[in-house]
Subunit: 325 residues, 2 copies
């Protein structure tokens, strides 16, 4: 079970390796959001997403022996890059199991970071969990799960420690914190950090339409599954259902989920380009879309949106600019 | 004459208003550059460029009476937005003289920041200096020149104070600091700050081919003019000749200039998109292009590139991605 002490221990291991990402803002975006909007730019993190935090947290906690044998992870891309980069920095071999339909950029980057990439078919056959477990056992690798792993949750929680400090510096002590949510590792990590360090800030998970398992689970009080596991441009935050470890935390600490459309994510990408000068992927822009276009579901004079990642293929980014910039 | 004391006074006035922009990096870019490459992301500054520093420095130093009458600036766009935003925050009216062929985004943003925009024809008729002086006199406005103004140079110098601290934190104490150079306000400001705070860091001005007045002036020891004043996509750094106040500083403190092509600037924009998740305009990416593609002209194991601005029209950005991402 991840505690604030584990999050602070992770922050100590990450110190001088993680990037303290800035809290950005624009008067133009405040105008659209109808309140003060602070954007935590985790797309500027190493490997282009917050996942580097969890990857580093887990790899840096391994024994020397386990580190030498290596690690394995399954991921649509951002966790893959985070683990691969962390493993490389620690001299640990890394095997990454990725869906064959993941963005080419993410697959290429993971390979370029020195990892061995194993592709699987997301729409059928073996589950990624099964593929990952098989390789882990055969080769004695340590499996680093993307969210249902206390050390990973602790690593993502370090983002929450920064938000607590940075929001206080901006004079914001009561606000919703919108977090893009797949399995809930980041939502639960940030929520635990805020519970201890900034209790006036409350996490609100954000999901794309059709993949709103966490939102529906929170509303019903029971774990709900998504009917599909692929087919959204928000590839970074597609998971079959809330995590076993993360959901009890999310359920205890987070406010209701917010659901956005793919179109809104694309508009948010274009506005982040125009107004913040950052590059976001659709799943990384969902929280910003919620802040901009679903203000009626948000409480307070200020809102924080965690812009979780920027690993988007150029074609899709161009499309967002063509339509909305 | 701008001194380190003036720069520190400007830093005090800017404190909690300016954004301390991050120093970004990517192992992929290090690989291309052939050395460690640190990118100072001033595109993340308020108004999307470093010009906010100089604008704030100048407006915040006005007397109450001058502030009430208002300010005027002439600018291809980034200085315009910097001055407009600073004036608005100080309750000062602002008139901005802009070339009619400036990027539409910059003209629109300047208006949206509350300034009155006066357009002029860059290729003929009155010079922008003449247009600016006429309006200033008629309406009692204080002219805030884009670079030949000690308070503006002091404001830009605050970027140099940050670079000195951030580079030392990264263990870099000897390196070339590549700075996109128009009139030389930023180059001279950073050079003065580094002279006092990080004497092992040396500014190298970077200019686009065909507009390399500073590079030629440095090489010949005499002020050289550009034959043309428009026609480059690097609109942010086109000036007729080195500044009267800035050039003696640049000449005393900076290393030789580096000249890049428009094509290299576009490639650097695409790489900044892919690897750093930031949006750069061509004139803001020239320094990065110099680091990536002109390494043979750079000394040392590390290099700093100041990515000065990100106010690029979506069409041009898409073109960079189409060609190079």
């Amino acid at each position: 079970m991840t505690s604030i002490a584990m999050i602070e221990a992770a922050a100590a291991r990450l110190k001088s390796h993680v990037r303290r990402t800035p809290l950005l803002s624009s008067p133009f975006l405040d105008g659209i959001a109808g309140r003060r909007l602070l954007v935590k730019a985790e797309c500027l993190q190493h490997t282009g997403s917050f996942k580097f935090r969890g990857g580093w947290s887990a790899v840096s906690a391994l024994t020397e022996e386990d580190r030498k044998r290596g690690v394995i992870a399954y991921s649509s891309g951002n966790h893959a890059q985070g683990v691969a980069a962390a493993a490389k920095a620690h001299g640990a071999p890394a095997v990454i199991v990725m869906p064959a339909d993941a963005p080419q950029l993410k697959i290429r980057n993971t390979r370029d970071l020195g990892a061995e990439v194993v592709l699987y078919d997301r729409s059928g056959g073996e589950s990624r969990e099964a593929v990952g477990a098989r390789h882990a056992e055969e080769r004695g690798l340590t499996l680093i799960k993307p969210y249902d792993e206390p050390l990973v949750i602790a690593g993502q929680g370090t983002c929450g420690l920064e938000i607590a400090e940075q929001a206080a510096f901006e004079g914001v002590t009561r606000a919703d914190v919108l977090v893009n949510c797949g399995g809930g590792g980041l939502s639960s990590g940030i929520a635990l950090a805020l519970e201890a360090r900034a209790p006036g800030l409350r996490v609100r998970p954000v999901e794309p339409e059709g993949f709103d398992d966490v939102t529906r689970s929170l509303a019903s009080g029971q774990v709900q599954r998504n009917s599909s596991q692929s087919g959204s441009i928000c590839d970074a935050i597609l998971t079959p259902q809330p995590g076993e470890i993360t959901f009890p935390i999310v359920s205890r600490l987070c406010g209701p989920g917010v659901v956005i459309t793919e179109d809104e994510a694309m508009r948010a990408m274009a506005l982040a380009f125009l107004r913040l000068k950052i590059v976001l992927e659709p799943g990384g822009a969902a929280s910003l879309a919620a802040a901009l276009f679903h203000g009626d579901q948000i409480e307070g004079d200020a809102v924080v949106a965690v812009a979780t990642g920027g690993n988007v293929d150029a074609d899709l980014f161009r499309e967002a600019l063509t339509r909305y910039a």
